[in-house]
């Protein structure tokens, strides 16, 4: 079982397309034998036909030496950290971490690459020792599987450190099939405990804070959605409930990312969020992240793989056509038929749908296996497509089997906002559908593309925009400070659920040594990240978990993160048999150090079972 990140799939298609017109060709690699996996179950990730790690010369070239026992006196190699160029703050933090690590005899090689190349490298696990990642919140990402599975499950490719802890994986496998939320929470909390205990990922900071500014002279009653803030199209409560104070009933929203397409199928994340304001989601979340009914009035669990969905009565599409259960079923059928993993991944476990009660609008959905993500993922991601428009759209436009190629110039949905005017990369007008059940109080929402933070702040200051779309753009305290004097603007901070973490390559040396990991965790000056880089807008991580305090899935009883203490780190390393060379560099314990050999073989802390790559020889 795996969950795919659709961004990876998207890039695959992009690369394929670029190959066609840009001419890349596919080199053939000779399979490299010599790699072994402790538990054959995990073999599939490395050896299965269609996977490629062991066939990739870059990956094998990197991994092989790191799975070879170090010689006597061998220094711990340079630790490579790869950071995308756009993430200036990550680099700022890593410069400090690297400086501190030299005091332990560690050398970092911090590489900055374009975001494109970074995505590629982490996807191929050729990014080096440490992968750095931050959370960007979306409604479906409240579901614990988004992070717990993708970043640490032994069979997921987005587990960039290739950490394979069988006890952790057991919890993950259990939670995803558990459709009863309280029971699922138990599994998720136990998984978090294992993760934190085995010292795999290092949470560097919880944050940065969600700080926003809005035009309070013109608007009242903005809604602060936990983790999202007031201005996120993903959490559209502000756009539904804010009250205009002036005659202007249009809300102008500056948006950093460009508006690239109006097709909800082909869109990237920002436009997809807008798409879900036009098409109705089946369920949504309130400002406290509690799941609430949306286009589906209610749902009933029949068994652990079957649910009955009841459509909200009285809804109409923006062209006046009533929304029927046929439309809902058509949407699922459409997704089932064309699901290629390159758009919505929510439907990959759906087996079939049948209309249970047409008069009352009840549809039965059946899944291939017990499904724990029904409410928090499946209902959040799916929308209702108007059957009368979409029925033959693929054939009419002659796009073959590829729904991402469908052009929808003027989307018609049943959501709270009608699609108005659109100028690509410039502006998009959303007109409130006053007949919608959510009863939007604004008249219009305009998304105004402004590609730089400076431009956004300038427009906020000049009153051109009322707030900034906050899915990926928050203010720093110093930016907020610049705006505090501006009349009419109010700064608000919303409790955040964000984090920034580092993932070491646990399957490789030196990270295979639990004691080394422990020492490394002590070498990270998290306070620097929070106080200096984030300008104080962040929290010290309570534990090494993805589900920060405030997240509904948080486990409050986790071991704390190892504090920044270089002396302690040094002591741990010394205790574990590490020595220091004349130039100060850290040297591996001697090859006959039995403790070292056993730790490296086991990788996991005592009490857990390692299922991943084994040392060579």
């Amino acid at each position: 079982m795996t969950l795919a990140d659709q961004s990876l799939a998207r890039r695959t298609m992009l690369r394929l397309a670029a190959s066609a017109f840009g001419g890349a060709s596919l080199p053939a690699f000779a399979a490299d034998a010599g790699f072994a996996v402790a538990n054959p179950k995990y073999d599939t990730l490395y050896q299965r036909t269609g996977t490629w790690y062991t066939k990739d010369p870059v990956w094998t070239g990197w991994t092989k030496p790191r799975l070879t026992w170090p010689a006597a006196g061998e220094k711990v190699p340079e630790l490579t950290v790869t950071i995308p160029t756009v993430q200036i703050s990550w680099l700022d933090a890593w410069r400090k971490f690297a400086e501190d690590a030299t005091k332990l005899g560690l050398r970092y090689n911090i590489q900055q690459v374009s975001e494109a190349r970074w995505l590629d490298q982490i996807g191929l696990h050729t990014h080096g020792d440490i992968e750095v990642h931050s959370a960007i919140l979306r409604p479906e990402r409240i579901d614990p599987a988004e992070w717990a599975t993708s970043r640490a499950y032994g069979l997921d490719r987005r587990n960039f450190g290739e950490w394979v802890n069988e006890q952790y994986d057991a919890q993950i496998e259990a939670q995803v099939g558990e459709s009863d939320p309280p029971k699922r929470l138990k599994y998720v909390q136990e998984a978090q405990r294992v993760l934190a205990d085995d010292l795999y990922i290092a949470q560097l900071g919880w944050g940065p804070g969600v700080i926003e500014a809005y035009n309070s002279a013109a608007w009242d009653g903005v809604v602060r959605t936990r983790g999202f803030g007031i201005g996120s199209f993903n959490a559209m409560h502000t756009f539904l409930r804010a009250k205009p104070k002036t005659a202007r009933r249009k809300m102008m929203v500056g948006i950093h990312s460009l508006l690239e397409t109006t097709s909800i199928i082909a869109a990237g994340n920002n436009m997809r969020a807008i798409g879900r304001m036009i098409y109705d989601r089946l369920a949504y979340m309130d400002e406290n992240l509690k799941i609430i009914p949306w286009a589906c009035e209610s749902w009933t669990r029949v068994d652990d793989r079957t649910w009955d969905l009841k459509l909200r009565p009285g809804m109409t599409f923006h062209d006046g056509t009533p929304v029927t259960i046929d439309d809902l079923q058509f949407t699922f059928d459409f997704m089932l038929k064309y699901e290629r993993g390159n758009f919505w991944t929510a439907n990959m476990f759906l087996a079939k749908t049948e209309i249970q009660d047409a008069a009352n609008g009840i549809l039965r959905t059946t899944f291939k296996q017990p499904y724990g993500q029904f409410e928090s993922y499946f209902l959040q991601l799916n929308v209702i497509l108007p059957k009368h428009i979409w029925r033959n759209i693929m054939a009419e436009q002659g796009v073959g089997e590829d729904p991402t190629r469908v052009r929808i110039d003027k989307p018609i949905g049943s959501g709270p906002f009608k699609f108005g005017r659109y100028r690509k990369d410039a502006e998009l007008q959303l007109i409130a559908d006053k007949t919608h059940f959510s009863k939007p109080s604004v008249d219009e929402v305009w998304a105004v593309a402004t590609p730089s933070i400076d431009g956004l702040l300038g427009r906020l200051q000049s009153g051109d925009i009322d707030l900034i779309e906050s899915s990926d753009t928050h203010l720093t305290p110093s930016q907020a400070k610049q705006l505090t004097g501006v009349s009419g603007l109010t700064i608000v901070q919303t409790p955040d659920l964000n984090w920034l973490h580092a993932v070491p390559r646990a399957s490789n040396l030196p990270w295979r040594d639990f004691e080394f990991r422990r020492a490394w965790h002590h070498s990270i000056d998290r306070e620097f990240l929070i106080k200096v880089v984030w300008e104080g807008a962040g929290r010290m991580p309570g534990a090494n978990t993805f589900f920060v305090e405030g997240n509904p899935w948080n486990n409050p009883a986790l071991p704390p993160v190892p504090p920044f203490d270089l002396a302690k780190a040094r002591a741990i390393l010394k205790e574990a048999g590490y020595t220091w060379a004349d130039d100060g560099r850290l040297v591996y314990p001697s090859p006959d150090d039995a403790g070292f050999r056993s730790r490296v073989r086991k990788v996991c802390k005592d009490g857990y079972t390692w299922g991943g790559l084994e040392m060579i020889g």
Binding site: T85, I88, L91, Q112, S114, D454, S478, Q482, K531, V532
Partner: protein, 282 residues
């Protein structure tokens, strides 16, 4: 050296020369006199970060949003800027001169091939091309220099070819050839000395263009992340959204860049007048 004296005959040339000398000194000694490292955070006495501060005593030009000292960054940035400028100038002029000499002197197919190559180079839009290359690989100062060289060599190549062509028909070349001098000797003894002043001119122009292009690339975020440069400073200010308020962060790199580029421009104009007396009346 005669060239330098002529440059100094022009007030603008003198001013330019002084500015360039000052910047060169800063590039060499700047990091040594910089009170902080390029990425070092400046703290207040109470150990809070001196963040986004206008110029004060312990941060002469103020600080960035990360509490880094703008003055120190400027000094470190001068070094990278001049390094890129100098190396790309040398690279492009050596390459351009070699191509120009070979093309102009040997003529025929050599000329045809090299000049078509130059035409191709002239067809490449630099910034877009450089952005593509950098985003496909890894940003570094070396790559920026390489790209600037690839972009710049074409101009000296064409100009020097034209110069060589006119030299080639002069009697002393015929005489030398009739006397049995080898190609290498003729090139080295008779042609190169006449072409070198032009090469110097294009080296100066190369420094200017190199500095400018590095700044532009860095500003767009395609610069070397580990090197502090003027463009990178502007980029950081732009990314931080500090343009509207933190004038102390924006002005130093911008003014330094403009000043340096103007200075070189003044020198090249004075030098051009030396090379081309017809312009002297102008």
């Amino acid at each position: 050296m005669r060239g330098f004296r002529v440059i100094l005959d022009y007030p603008s040339g003198t001013a330019g020369a002084i500015v360039v000398v000052v910047f060169s000194l800063l590039a060499v000694f700047g990091p040594a006199i910089a009170p902080h490292g390029p990425f070092e955070v400046v703290y207040n006495t109470d150990h809070s970060v001196l963040r986004l501060s206008p110029p004060v005593a312990n941060a002469l030009f103020g600080t960035t949003n990360q509490g880094m000292d703008v003055f120190s960054q400027l000094l470190w940035g001068t070094r990278s800027a001049l390094l890129v400028g100098l190396l790309s100038a040398v690279g492009s002029v050596v390459l351009g001169t070699a191509v120009g000499l070979a093309s102009g002197y040997f003529g025929g197919w050599t000329d045809e091939v090299l000049m078509r190559l130059t035409d191709v180079a002239f067809g490449i839009p630099f910034l877009p091309f450089a952005m593509v290359v950098i985003s496909l690989s890894k940003p570094s100062l070396g790559l920026v220099i390489l790209l600037v060289v690839v972009f710049l060599w074409r101009i000296p190549a064409r100009v020097i070819r034209a110069q060589v062509l006119s030299l080639r028909s002069r009697p002393f070349i015929w005489a030398a050839r009739a006397a049995g001098a080898s190609h290498a000797r003729i090139l080295a003894r008779h042609i190169a000395p006449n072409v070198l002043p032009l090469s110097f001119l294009y080296a100066a122009i190369g420094v200017q263009t190199g500095v400018m292009l590095e700044a532009a690339l860095s500003f767009l975020g395609f610069g070397d992340p580990n090197a502090m440069s003027w463009g990178a400073m502007l980029n950081a200010a732009f990314q931080a959204g500090a343009m509207r308020s933190a004038w102390w962060w924006v002005l130093p790199p911008g003014v330094a860049l403009s000043l340096f580029v103007t200075a070189i421009f003044m020198i090249t104009r004075a030098y051009e007048e030396l090379l081309n007396p017809r312009l002297r009346a102008i």
